[in-house]
């Protein structure tokens, strides 16, 4: 069973807001005693998803939650935007696929860096991505 220990919502639509959001994520990770490598993975994934939200989704919100499972604690982040959505999710999840002439690493990389990853998107409605990184694991 997963218990919600804390929850807050941040608006992320500009670059300075990405930095604020990253710093807040780090504070939460440190608070639950997450090790440096896992912290770095979590924040790097968070940074990729926040950038996507700004670049392709026109900005949005991130919900930051501290959650506890029977044997561990973790940070769960949910990125929500009401942008154009993604027409072909399996294509977007592929390494190297980018409509922005970029590296195409953000989505597949964030999936590798998180313990849990889910994405929902509807064309014309928006995109929601959720990642969880556990303190140990």
């Amino acid at each position: 069973m997963i218990v919600l220990l804390s929850k807050e919502i941040l608006a992320v639509a500009t670059e300075p807001e990405i930095i604020l959001f990253r710093n807040r994520t780090r504070e939460l990770a440190i608070k639950i005693g997450m090790g440096l490598v896992n912290q770095t993975k979590l924040i790097t994934a968070a940074s990729e998803l926040a950038r996507n939200m700004i670049r392709y989704g026109g900005g949005g919100t991130v919900t930051l939650e501290v959650i506890s499972a029977p044997k561990t604690t973790g940070v769960r982040l949910t990125f929500r935007d009401e942008g154009p959505g993604i027409a072909d999710l399996s294509l977007a999840m592929r390494d190297g696929f980018s409509t922005g002439k970029s590296l195409g690493l953000g989505l597949p990389g964030a999936k590798r860096l998180a313990n849990e990853f889910s994405i929902q998107s509807e064309v014309g409605k928006g995109t929601t991505v959720t990642i969880t990184r556990w303190k140990n694991g």
Binding site: E15, L36, Q39, L105, P108
Partner: protein, 133 residues
């Protein structure tokens, strides 16, 4: 406008990144470096990221751009001081930095640059070189 200082050290340029990069700051740094490389005929660029605790694809692209532009002007780029947690994360993210050499610290980075530009070598390449290539 906020800028990242670029220091001239002999035939090399040294940049120490100590703040989170955002778009305009990064673009300013690219411009400054390229101008300085061509103005001073620098043969190498050292970028110290020991104070940087996350490198995402945005930052990776900037490092790659600097290396590619420097190479056109006949200068090599070495990124020094990458934190171990950052290096581990980069591998999992899948980010490679083509054309960017890495070294443990500024001293080793300078030694590596000297061997790269073919002047008298004062140090050997560390196993750290090319870790993220």
């Amino acid at each position: 406008m906020e800028r990242i200082p670029v220091l001239k050290m002999g035939q090399f340029l040294l940049v120490t990144i100590q703040v989170d990069l955002y778009d305009r700051l990064a673009l300013g740094l690219e411009d400054d470096l390229i101008n300085m490389v061509s103005r001073t005929d620098a043969r190498g660029v050292l970028i110290d990221i020991s104070a940087v605790n996350i490198v995402d694809s945005f930052m990776g692209r900037i490092l790659g751009n600097i290396a590619a532009m420097s190479r056109v002007l006949d200068a090599e780029t070495v990124v020094v001081g990458m934190q171990p947690a950052v290096a581990i994360t980069l591998v999992e993210l899948g980010l490679t930095l083509p054309g960017v050499h890495t070294a443990l610290n500024v001293e080793k980075g300078m030694a590596l640059l000297r061997t790269k530009i073919g002047s008298v070598s004062t140090g050997e390449e560390t196993p750290h070189d090319r870790i993220v290539e």
